[in-house]
Symmetry: C2
Subunit: 195 residues, 2 copies
Amino acid sequence: MARKTGSHSDITGPRIRAAALRLFARHGFAAVSMRQIAAEVGVQAGALYLYTPDKQSLLAELMTEHLEQVLAALAAEPRPTDPVARLEAFARFHIGFHLERPEAVFVAYMELRNLDPANFARIETLRRRYEAELETILHEGLAAGVFHIPDTRLATLALIAMLTGVTTWYRDGGRLGRAEVADIYAEMARKAVGA
Amino acid sequence: MARKTGSHSDITGPRIRAAALRLFARHGFAAVSMRQIAAEVGVQAGALYLYTPDKQSLLAELMTEHLEQVLAALAAEPRPTDPVARLEAFARFHIGFHLERPEAVFVAYMELRNLDPANFARIETLRRRYEAELETILHEGLAAGVFHIPDTRLATLALIAMLTGVTTWYRDGGRLGRAEVADIYAEMARKAVGA
DNA sequence: ATGTTATCTGAACGCCCGTTCATTTCAAGC
DNA sequence: GCTTGAAATGAACGGGCGTTCAGATAACAT
């Protein structure tokens, strides 16, 4: 059978991406087969190729989608003028956004090695653009004399690693809620750069 | 042919582990086949099973070996009594040790999901033991009134994530040497906890 | 020189892989 | 009611997978 009821392409496409994201996050890209993804969607493996040219493009698309969403969401955030407030806002935003999408974060950070050079370069560009947002904040705070760090690039990478780390252990219903965790991390981030 | 010259089991075993570690780090556990590992060592796939009961045990052994080495190396480090000095020493040790073994770090942090529950629990215990070393330092610094953090557990996880992040970008021959990087990170770690 | 044993080969096992494609099904447009 | 074309099937392709094991080989003990 095919085409049971209604137009399916609008529905099946997102369902495939959702299933792939979940499975890639849980088992890793290489460990997940196209047949498993198809089964999760309730479709045969061949049907996936109506929505993606191949398995690796599916991964690249998930990563691109995630990073573009991060960038768009960050751009939509209010931008305090004070560097200290900006840094704290960034920390809160980063944690909040990443805790909403732990699977996408996991995949985007762990499966880079499964991308071919062209896709890798595209993804890496997006990631650098995001990092640049934080680095700009650090630069401005340094110029304003409120931050005290010997190297903005290093501080950028250190802070992002610290903030992203939350996704590896945070579980809803745990000892601390999201807001509390974000508060604590924002404070540590601020102190780490000497403000 | 078999047994070309000398006793080989002392040599082949380590060579298998080394090849497996390199390949797992580069391509991921699931993406590497036993035949690829064997080819790297210059042996047929069947020969691997003289040294490991199966593929997953090989992974578990690599992880266990790494974590036990970290713990042993940390235990052999001098232990300043001042909490601030202890924290800085820990940060320097962590970065120094991890930069020496980027492949093992990568595998130990990324391939946890490929372990069966029993192996996962063993590895997790070792990791917790390492984290506890840092948490103890934070606790003592808090008791001594030199650190100012609302939650030692969170600070532990935040600091370890920050410090471990170095392995994802550091390259020898780059703008900064290992010692300089370790210095900067140690300072950020110290400031992050308010000392 | 012979026997023993650790070490490794090479073939085989059943199974799953990513991908392609002719064919079938069915909602929608006329 | 008929045609059209999007959507999905299901079988097939060549190939690689983890693992097993009988047999071959070479270093060592006697």
